[in-house]
């Protein structure tokens, strides 16, 4: 069997039903491809063939019995390593969790297992999902499959690269400020960051809890809709999760309804600083969408320029609280701790000093700073107020338009090592993905590198436009 390139979820589903191959053969085929391909790309941190094969056989059995199967049944997926799969490692890209094994399934994993999805393995990420290049992983640097000298984007760089290199058909990532959308854009695939609260975070290693969200990385907008549909919904283990009925058009959008949508183009996202290629691609996409009959309108999101500062105060504040739990005891000890380490305080210091990488330390200390008395109001409260202003910008804009179109990032993928010594310049890669996230809005990254931001709980609008765009692109 030749390697099955460019498979979409729907293609796999049809092929399985047509008995062109079995789910087991497909999984074996993927692992074979990973064995050669991942030597160059370094997308995976851990593979679990046994678990994948036994899950694939369940689907094959259903097919043999002529029983109905779900759309995701037998679909080989890659899972970002900050999402727990019972019995498998979950390092979050950090040395501090090197020896940790998950003791339960995240809700998204449980849901995907129940519809028969096959998990090939866990993918690389920036440590605790902090970064925009996947260079901040404690274990390896993932390369961009389109150009191995460049970064895949981050922090879900392993998941994006795995899908882009055909090592997996779809993947899960997490997005706090752009961690699904940026790598999707850099690797030329689709990445959806759902509305805050649409998907449960139970069993997802927390970075910044007022922003973290799980979402799909896929080859098409329709695939993103299928994965999203499988993982969304209220979960009593995540109090921020909500129950929302997305209706039929999440999967099957109607062109008639999509054509009625007005797309806003915010001035602030188009005022210089865009690379030639990004600008060219965006203009091309706009022209194509106009051809579909969609109307465009210029809008303003006046507080856009403050989003980065706002984000880099709120996130470290939440990071310093969320990462306080890593004490070297409850989540397994790191190998570097000598037996001579006696007191609790010594264990804490040694574990955290050796276990956390530079970006984690930077954010923990910056977070402790902005939360300390005397600075709290000047930084943290101020940032929360600015967050309100940014959200208000979007509320106003959505009175005039239904969807907002922007670039995903000012530039394409940069060279590995290019920005590693200057955190501020790395943070700038996320300036277009952060504002919508602060407002809790859904946004999708569609090749070639544009972002569609929708109203709360209106993933069907942005994915619908994406689906029709793909048909004419």
């Amino acid at each position: 069997m030749k390697h099955l390139h460019n498979l979409t979820i729907k293609q796999v589903h049809n092929d399985l039903l047509d008995k062109k191959y079995t789910a087991l053969e497909l999984a074996q085929n993927c692992f074979k491809w990973i064995e050669t391909e991942d030597k160059k790309i370094d997308a995976f941190l851990n593979l679990d063939k046994e678990a994948a094969y036994s899950q694939a056989e369940k689907t094959d059995l259903l097919i043999a019995q002529n029983k109905p199967i779900d759309m995701l049944a037998g679909v080989p997926m890659a899972i970002k390593d900050n999402i727990l799969i019972e019995g498998q490692p979950a390092t979050a890209g950090s040395k501090i969790l090197e020896n940790y094994k998950a003791v339960y399934d995240a809700t998204v994993i449980k849901k995907l297992k129940s519809v028969g999805a096959v998990f090939l393995g866990k993918t690389n990420l920036d440590e605790f999902a902090m970064g925009s290049s996947t260079e901040n992983s404690a274990f390896k640097k993932t390369k961009n499959p389109r150009d191995l000298s460049r970064v895949p984007g981050g922090s879900s760089g392993g998941s994006a690269a795995a899908v882009a290199a055909n090592m997996a058909v779809a993947a899960l990532g997490t997005d706090t400020g752009g961690s699904i959308r940026l790598p999707a854009a850099f690797c030329n695939i689709v990445g959806l960051c759902p509305t805050y609260g649409a998907v449960s975070r139970y069993g997802v290693i927390a970075m910044a809890s007022s922003l973290d969200q799980v979402g799909p990385l896929t080859k098409t907008a329709e695939d993103a809709a299928w994965v999203f549909k499988a993982i969304l919904g209220h979960d009593s283990y995540d109090a921020t999760s909500a129950s929302v009925d997305y209706g039929e058009e999440l999967i099957n959008p109607r062109l008639e309804n999509i054509k009625k949508l007005t797309i806003g183009l915010p001035d602030e996202y188009f005022t210089g600083g865009l690379s030639e290629e990004v600008e060219k691609n965006i203009n091309l996409a706009i022209e194509k969408l106009k051809g579909l009959g969609l109307k465009f309108k210029k809008i303003s999101l006046p507080h856009t320029k403050y989003a980065l500062s706002c984000y880099y105060i709120i996130v470290p504040a939440e990071v310093s609280a969320n990462l306080a739990r890593y004490d070297g005891i409850r989540y397994a000890a790191i190998p570097e701790i000598e037996n001579s380490t006696k007191t609790l305080k010594e264990i804490y210091f040694k574990t955290r000093s050796r276990g956390f990488g530079p970006e984690a330390k930077r954010r923990i200390i910056l977070g402790a700073f902005v939360l300390s008395s005397g600075y709290y109001d000047a930084y943290y409260t101020k940032a929360q107020k600015v967050r309100s202003l940014i959200k208000k910008d979007f509320d106003e804009a959505f009175k005039k338009v239904d969807v907002i179109l922007t670039p995903v990032s000012p530039t394409g993928p940069f060279k590995i090592g290019e920005k590693i010594d200057d955190p501020m310049s790395l943070y700038l890669a996320d300036i277009f993905t952060i504002p919508s996230k602060l407002a809790g809005l859904p946004a999708v990254s569609i090749p070639p590198g544009f972002q569609l931001i929708g109203r709360h709980w209106r993933e069907q609008d942005i994915l619908g436009i994406g689906q029709f765009f793909e048909k004419i692109a």
């Binding site: 500062s309 105060i313 955290r352 530079p358 200390i365 600075y375 000047a378 107020k385 955190p423």
Partner: protein, 120 residues
């Protein structure tokens, strides 16, 4: 005087004196609180990075937020209370997970996590 008041006073003192930037001393103090030991090199690089980042944050001062309410979380949901009832399905699932968590402890005594002495 309580320790947090002393620290608070010291932070305030530094805030007004060095205009919202961070000193080596404060950095070391924060690292100590976060239980992170910094090497001299790490401390030097971190101080430089943080100064640059904090300088960037100064732009927020341009915004008048006196009448703006802070957005304190990501969710638009309102809190609702439910009856405090035992969900037996959930309980047995949790008991199961609890068992596996205890099994993964480095040292266990009577179902409790065993750690070194906190006080001598």
């Amino acid at each position: 005087m309580r320790l947090d008041i002393i620290i608070g006073f010291r932070l305030k003192y530094e805030y007004y004196n060095i205009m919202a930037t961070i000193s080596k001393k404060l950095l070391e103090h924060l690292a100590e609180l976060a239980r992170i030991e910094l090497t001299a090199d790490e401390s030097k690089k971190l101080l430089k990075d943080l100064k640059k980042i904090l300088k960037h944050f100064e732009e927020l001062k341009e915004l008048d937020t006196t009448k703006t309410a802070p957005m304190t979380g990501g969710t638009l949901l309102r809190n609702i209370f439910r009856e405090d009832e035992v969900d037996f399905g959930q309980k047995s699932e949790m008991t199961n997970i609890e068992g596996r968590i205890i099994d993964s402890f480095p040292e266990v005594e009577k179902g409790f996590l065993k750690v070194p002495k906190v006080f001598e």
